[in-house]
Amino acid sequence: MSTASRFRSIEDTVRATHGKPGAGYWVALAVSASVFAFGAWAYSLIVRSGLHWTGLRRPGMWGNLITDFVFWVGIAHSGTLISAILFLFRARFRTAVYRVSEMMTVFAVLTAGLYPVLHLGRPWFAYWLFPYPNERALWVNFRSPLIWDVFAVTTYLTVSSIFLVVGMAPDFAALRDRAEGWRRRLYALLSFGWRGTDEQWRHYTRAYLFFAAFATPLVVSVHSVVSWDFAASVLPGWHSTLFPPYFVAGAILSGVAMVITILVPLRKAFHLEELITQRHVDMLCRLVILTSTIITYSYATEILLTLPQPATDPERSTFVYRMTGDYAPLFWLMVACNCIGPLLLYWRKVRETAAALLAVCIAVNVGMWLERFNIIVTSLAHDRLPFDWRTYVPRWVEWAITFGAFGWFFMLFLVGLKIFPSVSISEMKEEIAHEGALEAGHAH
């Protein structure tokens, strides 16, 4: 099969994903859209009459919504990791999967970005968190981790979107050339007048490399900053120097798990098996196992460092409470999902059976959500003054908002799939060209 025809087949497979959506697609879109709509309505209750709709109360002033925030920022991680870091490491297997994970990143950040606003007591003043010249002559408090969040998240959103859009320019061009109607016009715009001249390619590869290098530190920084929301406090169970690495590892774990959760059905639905092969999946599974073990190590460190403290030590008390108190079941479920579950991926059988693989990855995502819930809620529920101890149980409104966010995320993703090339055409071609070159070399 000639290189040219293989090039063409790649384009066809990718263009096929933009074909007329089937019933399944519409159902999926309808479901996610309506879940999102319900969440939005639930939130409107809070805006109209206040946070009394939530289960929050002293001492637990944060609950589901902040948990969701941390969770989604976590999800957003793997995208940049896979596309940027692995790119710098020249890890070939990323080629087939990085586009999806980048899309996921951007949409996840868009989701995470909602929460800092959603959880406010007076969300209509959310813009006060941005430093801008105002008639009150007031400035923001740069000592506050929440302000660091604002910068971290907005920066991450900017960079990852630019990275995504720039990376897609050649593909958009390729699609433009074979599309017509509105798609043609849209792709023309998005491809920034790409013609594929050597000149452009030279600039493009430089730029891409540059962005990759630029995005890499963010992978580490963003979730470190988010972890400071907790580490910078004085609350037992939050105040820990372990948090940044621990959160980053957790973020990557949840992120990669989410990539797999999306890829596996995707590749089935759009018949991308020949582009996204089992090898790619295996590679991602390795990432999951690696980060899962890091997480296990972190859990162990945290607990083993506090248990030797005297029984009256609030820090110790908090961890004992986490493991044996009101929320103990959630804690152990978390351990099962994040520490035990991923180990199953050692078995080829599990990696190759879609259902098992999905189960493990979804479990990881549940587990990672629980991890944040445990950190936030148990620490608050059991702080220094015993007289104030109270538990927090999310109310339906909070669950509606939590799931609404998933609706929002998948809604965006489904739309994205129909517009963006979900596998990088140009880089796949590169791969082939590369192989071609190798074969040629053997021939002679």
Binding site: P133, N134, E135, R136, A137, G193
Partner: protein
Amino acid sequence: MSCRPSIASLLTGLAGALALARCGERPPPAPVQPIVFSHRIHAGLNAIGCTSCHASAEHAPVAGIPSMDRCRGCHKFVKEDKDDPAITAQIQALLRYLDEDKPIEWVRVHRLPDLVYFTHERHVRSGVQCSECHGAVEKMEAARQVAPLTMGWCLECHRRKQAERPLERAHLTDCLTCHK
């Protein structure tokens, strides 16, 4: 062609920021009052001091709206203007209120949000001239707001005053000075 939209958005963003920064700094026009009351004639021509009507400005948070009794005090005698029938008509309007013992429902000109605890006493006693905030009232036919009365505007003066004696005037830029 590809880069134009981004520049446009940049400009709009900048404009937006500036708009936010400047918003609410243009004071509103003078409201229409139930009867014509000329500060120019009272404070200007007749040189009546501010506190002779706004009596509590020196010893209370609010300067005070003169009671109908206070109007009567003078207008018991001042019932007309010999050489200006227009003004006579204005006085007549007042006298009607006085005869019916009805209060005049003045439309408020200066209004600070309720979250601001402004006190005239403190400002007057520390030597701030009425005109510094209320403008040349004695030249106004109808009283109107001249200062923006925004927080930035207040702070501008507070900071200036604080700079004079930074140590003992630390409270001038303390939020709790105006917000409790």
